[in-house]
Every structure is written in C-alpha cells, then in structure tokens.
C-alpha cells in the first residue's frame, strides 16, 4: 500500500465527502470527517518520510505515463504542504464539532462537513498534482467549497463577502486558465515536468511572456497579494470560526505553493528573475502590502478582521521571500508558509472560542479575558508572540531566515521593512493583550471555553512552541525543498 500513499491522501476526503452528505445528525458526519482527516495526516507524514528517504515520488494516474496521463510528482515542497493541510484539518475538525453546531445549526451539519471535506480534497489535490490543468480543476473544487463555507457565517455580510470572493476567485482562475492555454499552445503539453523541459527552447516569445504574466496575476488574486487582497478581510471576518481557522491557515498557502511551483519549477529561475522582472514587481508590492496591511490591522475593532489583515501582511512576507529568487529566500518563504499556518490557525481558533462564549469577536469581547477565560487568553498571547516573531516561537524562525536572506542580497531597506512590520505586529497584538489583561470583563459570569475547543487549540499552540524550539525538522525540509526547487523541476 505504500506505493499508493499519495492517492490515499486524496481518497480519504474523496470517498468521505459523498458518504458524509448522506449521513444524518451533527455527530456522524463529524466523526467520519475527523477520522478521515487523521488518516490523511498519517498518510502524508508517511509520504514525507518516504520522500525524505527516496527522493521525488512519482505516481501515474491510470498507469499512463507522464505527458499523456496525469501524474503526481511529490517532492519536499508538496509533501510539506500536504502535512500542513492535513495536519490543520486534523486539528480543526475536532474543534469544529462544538463551534459548528453552535454557529451553523444541527440540520445543515452533514452538508457542512461534506463541503469541508471537499475543501480539504481540493487543497490536497492542488498540492499533489503534477499537471497544470489538473491544478485548475482542483482549484475550483476548493474554491466552490470555500464560497459555500464562507457564506455559512451568521452575519449576513458573509454572503456579500462570499460573492465578491467568488467573482475575484473566478477571474483569477480564468486568468490562470488563459496562461495555461498559452503555455499549452506553445509546447503541446500540460505536464509540469514536461513543460519545464520544453519551455527554455521557446521562452523568448511574447506568448510565453504573456502566459507568465497571466498565471502570476491569476494566482496572486487567489493568494491575496496586496492590491488584489480586497476579498480576503471580509471573507475571513464573517465566515464561521472553524472555517476561518482552516482557510486562514491553508487556502492562501496552497496558492503560494502553486506560484512557487510555476515560478521555480516550470518557468525556472533564469526566466522568472532574469528575463522577466518578477522580483522588481513582487518585492515592492509585498513590502507595501505588509506595511499597509499591518497598519490597517491596528485600527480594526473586530479582532477577527484584524487577524485577517495580518494575514494579508504575512502573505507579504511569504511573497517577499520567494521574490528574492534565492535559495535562502525560498527557504524562508516555505518556512513561513508552514509556520504562519500554525500560528494563524491557533489565533483564529482562539477567536472561535471567544465567539463561542462571548458571542462576538470585537475588542470589547476580549476585555478582561485573562480573568474569565485564562486558557483561551494565554493561547492568544502565545500565538500573538509567534505572530510578532519573538524567539522560541515559530514566527521567529521564519522571520530570522527571511532577514538572513535579505542580508545575503544586501537589501537593507527590505530588512528595515521586515522589522517595521514586526513592530506594527507588536502594536496590534499588544492592543488586544492589554485589553485582555487590564480591561474590565464585559460579562464576568462567562467561563472558560469547553474542552472540546481548548484541546485542539492548545495542540496548535504547543506546535507553535515546539517547532520554534526544535527547528531541525522544518528548517531541514524547507532547505531541501528550496534546493530542489532552485535546481528546477527535473530533479530526481
């Protein structure tokens, strides 16, 4: 069965979703989804180990070899992403039971978990595949599930948020489709490795350049890079807590992964950074994005919205890393993809717990939380420290690598911008922590969140600390992945 590992990761949600849609009541679909996500996590960890031991893992779908059929091509980068997605799913799903029943209502639970499984399926599908068109198909699976899940939020503004995401997301996906079409017409293939092989010969044509522009723009819409981020804050603010936790931690990361795959593997470093001004475009956007989004998030009264803007800022760090076009920068970027998933997952889960007890997520609801809900509050403090980038947390590890990468290139202003972003993070996290410690509780009778929410939440918080102290695992994998990506896609 070890030879089929990548398919097993996909199969778990694929078979689970239709079954879950037929189950009744809130508990059975939840149980099914949780067990399946654990199974998928197990498979993806095994996959990572296997990739570590044997190198790139190739699996042909239907037994048709690469350019004719669709293949899975799993190297360190996908394996890492896969562990992140399934790992967060395994934490968020146990957490979801209480919060979903609270926010959605029991009668819609089966379909809700179906949609969640489909979202996981879509994200995993994008990650494992080695075919450019297949990415589009699974992108749409995950997007459609996302639109639905966001619209499940209680606030009616969730609907408009979802709709504007639908429009932006579809435009992004269609741009991607145009780009892939242009690549296809020039090379005759859709397979990523094959594209990487055939592109250098014809890269000096206007069609390939246009393809590059369209693919990058389309994906940047999906990953909410600065001027294209307008859909994100509302979408994250108004969707149900469990959904926000999962989306905030994984959805944009997968888009980042696709961008990395195209920029480094398919087009190659020379084309992306040599022939095309990718760095010149992305670096300023990333820096403006991270500074402006951090500044905006200081002013948000709604903490969920504040964290959403902070996500836009963090996307800035990630894109900054990959836009450097060096192995160091890419390592930092991949590390931050993983680490930001951990911290944002934890923080959004905290907000879910607060919403569960207090009924809202504004800063007033956070007041005096240290007294009424100490465990939840301390989780927020630790997550916030990680967001700032305090040593011994994951946030520090990735920012440290990012700064090292910038120093390596001698980009001093960029280092200053990164540090300034951290200072802004201190302000916006500090504001909430201050309210929690010194504010008067809005309602002193509220008690600690139930264990069903606290345990998954603290698992993630501990992961934040764990990977902050024991950096070998993540840094080694990220470095290996970066080395592979820099060398191009044809590494075995």
């Amino acid at each position: 069965m070890l030879a089929h590992l990548p398919v097993l990761v996909i199969l778990a949600p694929l078979l689970g979703a239709p079954v879950a849609s037929l189950l009744r009541g809130p508990n059975w679909p939840w149980l099914l989804a949780t067990l399946l996500s654990w199974f998928a996590l197990l498979c993806s960890v095994l996959l990572l180990i296997q990739v570590n031991a044997q190198g790139t893992f190739i699996y042909t779908m239907g037994g048709w070899e690469a350019p004719w059929g669709i293949e899975y091509r799993i190297d360190f980068a996908n394996a890492l992403l896969l562990v992140l997605i399934t790992g967060l799913a395994s934490v968020v799903l146990p957490y979801a039971r209480l919060s979903v029943e609270h926010e959605i209502g029991a009668d819609r639970c089966p379909l809700f978990y179906t949609a969640l499984l489909l979202l996981i399926l879509g994200l995993c599908g994008i990650t494992v595949t080695g075919d450019a068109f297949n990415v589009f198909v699974f992108l749409e699976v995950s997007s459609l599930a996302t639109y639905t899940l966001i619209a499940m939020g209680k606030d009616r503004r969730a609907l408009t948020a979802s709709f504007s995401y639908l429009i932006m997301g579809t435009i992004g996906a269609t741009f991607y489709l145009i780009g892939v079409g242009f690549l296809y017409v020039m090379t005759g293939t859709l397979n990523m490795a094959d594209l990487a092989e055939r592109l250098p010969a014809i890269s000096d044509s206007s069609t390939v350049r246009t393809a590059f522009a369209f693919i990058v723009t389309g994906i940047c819409l999906k990953l909410a890079l600065f001027p294209l981020h307008l859909w994100l804050p509302n979408a994250y603010t108004y969707s149900p807590s469990a959904v926000t936790a999962f989306l905030g931690a994984t959805a944009t990361k997968v888009a980042v992964y696709v961008l990395i795959r195209f920029v480094f593997t398919i087009f190659g470093v020379e084309f992306s950074f040599g022939a095309e001004p990718l760095a010149e475009v992305l670096v300023p956007l990333a820096i403006i994005g991270l500074l402006s989004a951090s500044t905006v998030s200081i002013m948000q009264p709604n903490i969920k919205r504040m964290l959403a803007y902070s996500s836009v800022a963090q996307i800035g760090y990630i894109v900054l890393g990959l836009a450097m076009g060096t192995a160091m920068g890419l390592t930092a970027s991949l590390l931050h993809v993983f680490n930001h998933g951990l911290m944002k997952g934890a923080l959004f889960m905290v907000m879910g717990a607060v919403a569960y007890r207090m009924g809202g997520t504004s800063i007033d609801d956070m007041r005096g939380l240290a007294k009424t809900m100490p465990l939840t509050f301390w989780a927020f403090v630790l997550g916030g420290l990680s967001l700032i980038g305090v040593p011994l947390t994951v946030g520090f590890v990735s920012k440290w690598h990012l700064i090292l990468a910038a120093l390596e290139l001698g980009w001093w202003p960029v280092v200053v911008a990164i540090l300034a972003g951290s200072m802004l993070a201190v302000v916006y996290v500090g504001r909430v922590v201050e309210a929690g410690f010194f504010g008067e509780p809005k309602d002193a009778t509220k008690r600690e969140a139930p264990w069903g929410l606290l345990v998954p939440l603290w698992v993630l918080v501990i992961a934040n600390i764990w990977f902050g102290i024991d950096t070998r695992l993540t840094v080694d994998i990220a470095e290996a992945a970066a080395a592979q990506l820099m060398a191009g896609g044809v590494v075995r």
Partner: protein, 185 residues
C-alpha cells in the same frame, strides 16, 4: 476549408454583437435571453471548429441549464438593473484595456491558426489518435482521453459538480421537513 473559417468569423461577430447588447441592456430578462442565444451561437462555433463534444455540452449546459437557472434567479431577485453610477467605470475600463493589450501582445507569437504541424498537434496529442485504437479501442478519441488518459481530471469534474450541488443545497436548500405538500418556509 475557407468556408469553415468564414462561418467561424461570422459567428464570432454575432457573439460580439450579442455580448455588447447584453452589456448595454438594463432589463435582466432580455439579458438572460440574449445570453441564451449567446450560448447557442458559441455552441455552433465549437461545432464549426470540429469540437462536437464541446458544442454538445455547451448547448446543453450554457443554453439549457445556465439560462434556466438564471431565469429562476431573476424571478426571485427582480429584473431591473439600476443604472450605473458614473464614478466606477474608469478603473474597470483601464484594467480591461491593459489586459486586452497584454493578450494582443500574447497572440503575436502564436503558431498559425489551423496548421497541422503546430506544437500542439505534434507533441502529446498524436499518441491519443494513433495509439488509443490499440490501447483503449474506443472510436471517440475525446471519450478515450476524457475517461481514461485524463480520467483523473474527469473525476475532479464530477467532484466539482457534486460540490456545486452541495453548495447550492447548503445555501438555498429547503430545510428538512415533510416532503409531501411542499412546505413553504
């Protein structure tokens, strides 16, 4: 054949006329109807370009299902579109012009239209046409590629449709009540 290409251009011009009309018309009902004939025309266009299966699907889906769903929607949301505010039209226009210019730049190096020795026709596709009679033995190459060579894509497609069904039921499905007697909410 020159005639095919002529029909192709003719139909594309029709499409352009119809789409401009859809853009300008305020009455959504008319817009949806025009969208229906837009789909029918595009389906004929697919036929002219030898894509029978695609024309089939576009006719059934675009002109059939999409149009009917849109009609059902405007029966609930009303058919008048409010006139545009003046302020918001410049930015979209700028974006559209830039995108269009990029695309025009992009087609300059395209391989010639309809030549049999384009890279598209020489690299992956020949295998589907030459080998599939021995490997799969299905006369319709589209079916062979769809269901076998790229069967995984089609699996994704089925999942997409399923997702849409789940999504629509979650969004506007009726809550579970007695099926008999159409429980009005």
């Amino acid at each position: 054949m020159i005639l095919e290409q002529l029909i192709d251009i003719f139909l594309l011009v029709f499409l352009a006329i119809i789409s401009i009309a859809v853009l300008r018309i305020r009455d959504l009902f008319t817009a949806v109807m025009l969208f229906g004939i837009y789909s029918l025309t595009s389906a004929s266009l697919f036929m002219v370009l030898d894509a029978a299966d695609v024309g089939f699907t576009e006719a059934a889906v675009g002109a059939g299902i999409s149009t009917i769903l849109m009609l059902a929607t405007i029966s609930m949301t009303g058919r008048e579109e409010k006139p545009l505010k003046k302020k918001g039209t410049m930015l979209p226009l700028a974006i559209v012009v830039i995108t269009g210019a990029t695309l025009v730049y992009g087609i300059m190096d395209l391989p010639p239209f309809g030549e049999p020795d384009n890279p598209v026709h020489t690299h992956v596709a020949p295998r589907y046409i030459e080998q599939s009679p021995q490997e799969i033995d299905v006369p319709n190459f589209v079916t062979a590629v769809l269901a076998s060579y790229r069967g995984y894509d089609t699996l994704g497609e089925v999942v997409v449709i399923f997702t849409a069904g789940v999504g629509v039921m979650l969004l506007i499905g009726r809550r579970r009540k007695r099926k008999e007697g159409i429980s009005n909410e």
